[in-house]
């Protein structure tokens, strides 16, 4: 049984690592800011999700498992929001100082 669980972890974490590789290839190869942003936020968040999935069988107890899932959801939330915000800033051109009202 434990070999099966370990095998699952190997596969999930290995796949996660491959998504990190894909994200980096995207960063290196894609021509402009928006496509690079796409590669970064899509591939890496999926990679992190797979890593979390692979680690889940190894944590002891419910609370650590919930924390792992919460970490992934938080990264998804902030990754999605930050990429939207960065993309808008990129489309507006170079940011300058923005005085308050």
């Amino acid at each position: 049984m434990s070999t099966l669980v370990d095998l699952f972890s190997y596969v999930a974490i290995g796949a996660g690592a491959i998504f990190f590789l894909a994200g980096t290839v995207g960063l290196l190869r894609f021509p402009d800011t928006l496509t690079r942003l796409h590669a970064l936020t899509k591939a890496d968040n999926l990679g992190l999700g797979l890593v979390v999935l692979g680690l889940l069988p190894h944590v002891a107890g419910v609370l650590p498992a919930l924390k792992l899932i919460a970490i992934w959801l938080l990264v998804l939330l902030s990754g999605a929001d930050a990429s939207q915000l960065i993309a808008r800033a990129a489309r507006r051109g170079e940011p300058r100082s923005r005085p308050g009202p």
């Binding site: 100082s97 005085p99 308050g100 009202p101």
Partner: protein, 116 residues
């Protein structure tokens, strides 16, 4: 090469890099950054020494680790104060130069200050 030696040597390099940046970068914000690099080098050196003191199942000597937490918080408050002083200097003079006898640069003072 265990972790304590690797990060201890890294810490010495960080102090040097930060010191160089602190001297040669004319922009005060860059000096603040460089000062923080020096500071983190010192912290890391301290952390490496704490790691060497691992004993009785503890991953490191807890006394230096506790002091590190204090140090990081104090370094942050000093950085925040320095940055605020710098921004205030910029608001007043429109420049951040630290050299005497140089006229304020042509850049406009922050328009945020004009409002009342």
């Amino acid at each position: 090469m265990n972790a304590a030696t690797v990060f201890g040597l890294l810490a010495t390099a960080l102090v040097g890099v930060g010191l160089y940046g602190f001297i040669v970068n004319p922009q005060p914000l860059r000096k603040i950054l460089a000062f923080n690099v020096i500071g983190s080098g010192v912290f890391l050196l301290f952390g490496a020494i704490a790691r060497r003191g691992a004993a009785l199942g503890l991953g490191g000597d807890p006394v230096p680790q506790a002091l590190l937490i204090t140090g990081i918080v104090v370094a942050f408050s000093a950085t925040a104060l320095a940055v605020t002083v710098l921004l205030r200097l910029f608001d007043e003079t429109g420049s951040t130069t630290l050299s005497s006898g140089v006229a304020p640069s042509a850049s406009e003072p922050d328009p945020a200050k004009a409002r009342e």
